[in-house]
């Protein structure tokens, strides 16, 4: 049974310089309790995709089309009020930077309680405080009784992210979207936060959609991975397959960069030549072809025709290369 | 010398808003207008509230011994401060005739004119119902001597006339006023001003033929000693007239209400009609004019203190429907330029200065014909008895424009007759003292230009405005600006004061002029003349004499324009004060 089904999601931002096609026809499914990762460089459309799930893309001119079906209900077609009831209750979100994600004017206890109260107006003040205390305790804040009345600026970055997680999970949502939850944190804290997410997921039974550029993070906690490039999914596979047998040349490049650079914090993948394309003036054909070592071998097809995502081996891949060559690529990867 | 109201001195904060610009070509001209219907009593009813709109922040003072502004002398005198004598409350020339007020008659003088006595009527009461006594009058008069309080604000006739020895106090008198006087000092005053029952006697050190005019000044008004609050008396003066001060707050308002204890039977001068007079202070001048033109609501019952803005004169005098609400007339002031006869001792140079001067340009700079007419006398036209236009110097032009050619000719004569003064005027230059104001900057440019055309050099010497008169009192320039209005309807308060020996405002240093002796003798004669018609003739001759000597150059007899609300009645110009008879104003409808 599918919990969330995204169908042909397209998001365009109108800007003074022209339309930015951030997401160009993304489709995927998420099952209950499943952990899915969306991986890509900055500008790949992964965060926009994640935000679309809760209609959190803001701006003067945002155009969204397609469907985001939560248990069959299209979030994109809902009224504002209906979406509001989904937010925080059925689908919750963790943001990238815990330093700015918390409201500086209110105590953390109040902010956790508020997240619960929005969807449980019947809850008493006392109840809310109990819940906040319990949440703080669960996400591993020491001395929650004392710290519940403190303000965000009195906490470290890691602690604040725990509080953000506590807020997200206070309503036991069906889906937890974590947008780069560890990027802004110290390396030592990163693992703790990921562990916490995994543990909380186990407790609440939520599905997790993890948005990251960090393949190390992906390997640690997810089951399935989607690789995005220039607003499209270029590869989708089980984590085990993707890491062992990547099919798309871009995925292969990504993996190589992790292995060779050992620098998980670099957003730019230096083992892939060139830079990610401008979303306003995308290259014709396959958007990756200017950076792809195999583009010349297909007699110009890569620069004219956009490759569709198709089943290749155990996963899917969007590349014009024939299946056998895609499957063989990994052989090449292993050679070195 | 009466002082101009503060209102005229205050620079308008706001000077915009649509003024009707007729242009000078087809502009409305100034001319005598007496107020039409508003000057009559047609349809007047008793009661109502009269409003006085003004841009002034307050009255210059309500303290009778400190008042010296023409309009205020009339306004307070007609409402809350009665005097021994006052003026007939009618329009026109008759308004300058003296009538008995608190006194039973116009006073009795000794043959040598050094003793004057007045007897109080029966039944004159203060606002608390108590009787106005002779002692109250004497006490009031004594306050002028207390310069540490009254600060030379009011006229100083009590000091210069009363027979009290000279002394070291600031007033040069041996009597320091009621507040500081020792018993002996007080005795000096009590000898000069004595009471016998209801009769008050003034002993003077000089003969004064018109002392009964002098006592019409509020400086001679009574003040009950028990009510005196020294410097603060002007905040709530005690009334013996038909109105009393209910509240007075500078910057806000002065409310005069009817004094229930005023005894109408004791008063033949005042005929109050309204219940209440409210002065609204600190209004924007533009707003005042707009309100008066709109004439709606309470503004129908309003008059203005301070005149009409120059930009609105065309509108007011170009609209015939306002004929019954507007006035245009002399305000009693004459402006002039004093010459220092000690340093400019040469008559020809003085004549040249007059001939070269562009009075027309000066008047235009001041605001044009509405501001006044070219003066032909130092006596204002309002002093109808004593006024006669003098025959001006040969060569001066009626339209005020300069006669440079004649001026150069005079200078050439001067070169022969008095080479020293000629050299001073053409080479060193003549020092011109004047108050340091923006308007004077404009005037000086004209002076320097037009006299320069005749070869006369002018050195500009601006003096800080508040110190101006005190400064020229100590150190006179070659030319000095000034203005004057009579203290009462007699040229005795003009010509001897401006040009005579010991005159209160004579900065001409003209006693060394060979022509002085003749003037002084004739002036003494005129002062002592008790036949009013004969006296007037002498004043007219003296004025001609002064004009011929060019001790001063007359500037303009200044005019004022005003407008009243459509319900206001009795708004005639009361000549001695150059304003309405405030206490007698009534409302129709």
């Amino acid at each position: 049974m599918t919990l969330l089904s995204v169908r042909d999601l397209r998001v365009t931002f109108g800007t003074a310089d022209g339309d930015v096609h951030a997401v160009k026809g993304v489709s995927f499914d998420v099952s209950p309790g499943e952990t899915v990762a969306i991986v890509g460089e900055s500008g790949s459309g992964k965060s926009v995709t994640a935000n679309s799930l809760l209609r959190l893309n803001f701006g003067a001119d945002v155009r969204t089309s397609g469907q985001v079906l939560l248990e069959g209900r299209d979030i994109l077609a809902m009224s504002d009020e209906e979406v509001r009831h989904v937010r925080g209750r059925e689908v919750a979100m963790i943001f990238q930077d815990p330093l700015t994600a918390l409201n500086p004017f209110y105590s953390v206890g109040r902010q956790i309680g508020e997240a619960y109260a929005v969807h449980h107006p019947e809850a008493s003040k006392k109840e809310l405080r109990e819940i906040a205390l319990d949440s703080l305790h669960k996400v591993g804040i020491p001395e929650p009784g004392k710290r519940i009345d403190q303000h965000p600026h009195e906490f470290s970055g890691g602690m604040r992210q725990r509080i953000v997680i506590a807020i997200a999970l206070v309503n036991s949502p069906k889906i937890l979207i974590a947008d780069e939850p560890t990027t802004a944190l110290d390396v030592t804290v990163q693992a703790q936060i990921l562990e916490l997410i995994a543990a909380m997921q186990a407790e609440h039974g939520s599905a997790v959609i993890l948005i990251t550029h960090d393949l190390g993070v992906v390997a640690e906690i997810t089951e399935r991975v989607m690789v995005m490039y220039a607003g499209r999914v270029v590869e989708s596979a089980a984590v085990a397959d993707a890491f062992v047998t990547p099919t798309h040349p871009y995925t292969r490049g990504l993996l190589k960069s992790v292995k060779s650079l050992d620098s998980v914090r670099h957003e730019r993948l230096e083992s892939i030549p060139g830079i990610p394309p401008s979303l306003i003036n995308l290259p014709s054909g396959c958007p990756f072809h200017p950076r792809c070592a195999h583009a010349d071998s297909l007699a110009g097809r890569c620069s004219t025709e956009v490759p569709e995502l198709r089943r290749v081996g155990p996963g899917s891949s969007a590349c014009h290369l024939p299946d056998e060559r895609l499957l063989n690529l990994l052989g090449g990867a292993h050679e070195r | 010398m009466k002082v101009r109201s503060k209102v005229l001195a205050i620079v308008a904060l706001v000077g915009l808003v649509a003024g009707a610009c007729g242009g000078s070509g087809d502009g409305v001209q100034s001319g005598e207008e007496s107020g039409g219907l508003s000057a009559t009593l047609d349809g007047v009813k008793d009661g109502g509230t009269l409003y006085v709109l003004t841009s002034a922040e307050g009255a210059s003072t309500l303290d009778p011994q400190r008042v010296y502004t023409g309009a205020e002398l009339g306004a307070w005198g007609s409402t809350f401060a009665r005097t021994l004598t006052s003026y007939k409350p009618v329009a026109g020339k008759d308004g300058t005739s003296l009538v008995a007020d608190m006194a039973t008659d116009l006073g009795t003088a000794s043959d040598d004119l050094t003793t004057w006595s007045f007897t109080l009527r029966d039944g004159i009461t203060w606002e608390d119902g108590s009787e106005v006594t002779c002692a109250d009058v004497a006490y009031g008069v004594s306050r002028t001597f207390g310069s540490e309080v009254t600060a030379f604000d009011g006229p100083q006739y009590a000091v210069s006339y009363l027979d009290i020895p000279a002394g070291d106090y600031d007033t040069d008198s041996a009597y320091p006023g009621p507040w500081l006087a020792t018993e002996e000092e007080q005795a000096l005053f009590d000898e000069a001003v004595s009471c016998d029952g209801k009769t008050i006697t003034f002993n003077l050190k000089v003969p004064v033929a018109d002392f009964n005019f002098t006592v019409s000044l509020l400086a001679f008004a009574p003040v009950p000693e028990a009510q005196d609050t020294a410097d603060q008396y002007g905040l709530k003066p005690f009334s013996n007239g038909p109105f009393k001060v209910e509240t007075y707050e500078e910057g806000k308002e002065l409310v005069l209400v009817r004094n229930e204890n005023w005894n109408a039977e004791s008063d033949e001068v005042r005929a109050p009609k309204v219940d209440k007079i409210v002065w609204q202070f600190g209004l924007d001048e533009t707003v005042i004019d707009e309100r008066m033109l709109a004439d709606s609501g309470d503004d129908k019952n309003a008059i203005v203190y301070g005149g009409i803005l120059p930009v609105n004169l065309q509108t007011v005098f170009g609209d015939e429907s306002l004929k019954d609400r507007r006035t245009d007339g002399f305000d009693g002031f004459v402006t002039y330029t004093m010459l220092n006869i000690k340093t400019v001792s040469c008559l020809e140079v003085r004549q040249a200065i007059w001939l070269a001067l562009d009075r027309e340009a000066l008047r235009t700079a001041a605001g044009g014909p509405f501001t006044g007419e070219f003066a032909q006398s130092f006596v204002a036209p309002l002093l109808t008895t004593d006024y006669a236009p003098a025959k001006l110097l040969d060569g001066t032009k009626g339209d005020g424009t300069p006669n440079t050619k004649a001026a150069i000719a005079k200078m050439n004569e001067a070169k022969e007759k008095c080479p020293e003064v000629y050299a001073k005027a053409t080479e060193d230059g003549l020092r011109f003292d004047h108050p340091d104001t923006d308007t004077w900057k404009k005037y000086m440019a004209i002076w320097i230009d037009t006299l320069g055309a005749a070869g006369i050099k002018i050195n500009d010497n601006p003096i800080e405005q508040s110190k101006y008169y005190a400064t020229i009192n100590g150190d006179q320039g070659d030319l000095m600006s000034a203005g004057w209005a009579a203290d009462w309807a007699n040229a005795s308060t003009v010509l001897p004061e401006l040009f005579g020996k010991g005159g209160g405002f004579n900065y001409h240093n003209n006693e060394e002029d060979p022509a002085f002796a003749e003037f002084q003798t004739k002036a003494e004669e005129a002062k002592m003349e008790t036949d009013r018609a004969a006296q007037a003739k002498l004043w007219k001759e003296l004025n001609q004499y002064v004009i011929d000597q060019v001790w001063s150059i007359p500037g303009s007899a200044s005019k004022a324009q005003n407008i009243v609300g459509s319900n206001v009645r009795g708004a005639y110009q009361w000549l001695p004060f150059g304003w309405y008879n405030l206490g007698d104003l009534g409302l129709a409808g």
Binding site: A60, D97, F105 | L180, A230, G282
Partner: protein, 329 residues
């Protein structure tokens, strides 16, 4: 926190002492001579000199300042025995031009200015923050354009011009309102309200303009903050989000500026008071300038300084309460 308040108050008092001394020195250095003003037109230079001595203007400045400060705490007697005037503490001097103790004058004008300031302040905060919020929430729509146009016009309109237009339109041409004539709140609340309506609006419109812009920009800035997105992601209703998240954050800097603006206004709304003929501190000061009435000028300057220093201190302390990040532990 108590320590913080005490320390701030101490500095405020020191600052006021410095300001008072400075004011005293500055005004004494002005070319206008207070002694010359005590004497009428017939005055002679010797009289001015003797008045100078009598009023103490010939003493060293330090001595004059000392007497002045002493007067504030102990009261002071002016003039000579027999005709002297006593001004009880706190005495800020005696005006020989107005014949009143300066403290009395301030006490009668301050309520007027306070009435103007308070009403205008409330109005301009409502208009400014209201329109600014509307503009931000309806960014790019006609409401935004109207609010922006309002703020451009408001900023560029001179107060006296707007005041005159108001008088012309509402009083003279249409007669909708009577000409403002100040009445004390305790005397007649209705007349008090009516007399202040126009000045409130004039001041509010002029001042609100800045607040429209500040609020609009502040809100738009805060709306981009991550914590606001988290609030949306929590499912907070829009209205609650705007009030408790966006406005709460956007108003902190505005409150600071508003506090100072209010204090400044308490020092006298000079032009507004003049146009509408309201006998407040501003008019008192203006008249004192015209008449070179030094005692009043020194006092009104000091009173204004007190308001600004006090407001500064209050705003500082308030800021600690409003923004937990700067709160002193």
């Amino acid at each position: 926190m108590i320590f913080f308040v005490l320390r701030r108050s101490f500095f405020a008092i020191v600052l006021l002492l410095i300001v008072s001394a400075f004011t005293f020195v500055i005004f004494s250095a002005l070319p206008s001579d207070p002694a010359a003003l005590t004497c009428g037109k017939n005055c002679r230079p010797e009289v001015i000199e003797s008045n100078r001595e009598r009023l103490g203007y010939d003493r060293p400045l330090v001595e004059q300042y000392g007497a002045y400060m002493k007067g504030i705490f102990a009261g002071r007697t002016y003039g000579e025995e027999g005709s002297s005037i006593h001004c009880s503490a706190p005495s800020l001097g005696y005006s020989y031009d107005r014949h009143e103790c300066v403290t009395t004058l301030i006490a009668s004008t301050l309520p007027v200015t306070a009435s103007i300031a308070l009403g205008a302040f409330v109005l301009w905060m409502v208009i400014g923050v209201g329109l600014g919020t509307l503009a931000a929430l309806k960014r790019g729509r006609w409401q935004d354009r109207v609010a922006t146009a309002f703020s451009v016009i408001g900023v560029s309109l001179p107060t006296f011009f707007l005041g005159l237009i108001f008088i012309m339109v509402f009083v003279i041409w249409t007669g909708l309102l009577p000409f403002p004539r100040y009445t004390g709140l305790t005397e007649n609340p209705v007349e008090w309200f009516m007399s202040l309506l126009l000045p409130w609006f004039v001041l509010a419109i002029i001042s609100a303009a800045t607040y429209v812009r500040m609020t609009r920009n502040g809100i738009l800035e805060v709306m981009n903050e991550e914590f606001v997105r988290l609030g949306i992601a929590k499912g907070l209703p829009r209205r609650r989000l705007i009030v408790t998240y966006v406005l709460r954050a956007a108003l902190v800097p505005i409150v600071t500026i508003a506090g100072l603006d209010f204090a400044f206004l308490l020092g006298g709304a000079l032009v507004t008071e003049s146009i509408f003929n309201l006998p407040g501190l501003g008019k008192l000061t203006l008249a004192a300038v015209i008449n070179s009435d030094l005692p009043i000028l020194v006092a009104t300057t000091m009173v204004s300084a007190v308001f600004i220093v006090v407001a500064n201190t209050v705003v500082d302390i308030l800021y600690g309460y409003l923004d937990p990040r700067v709160r002193v532990k």
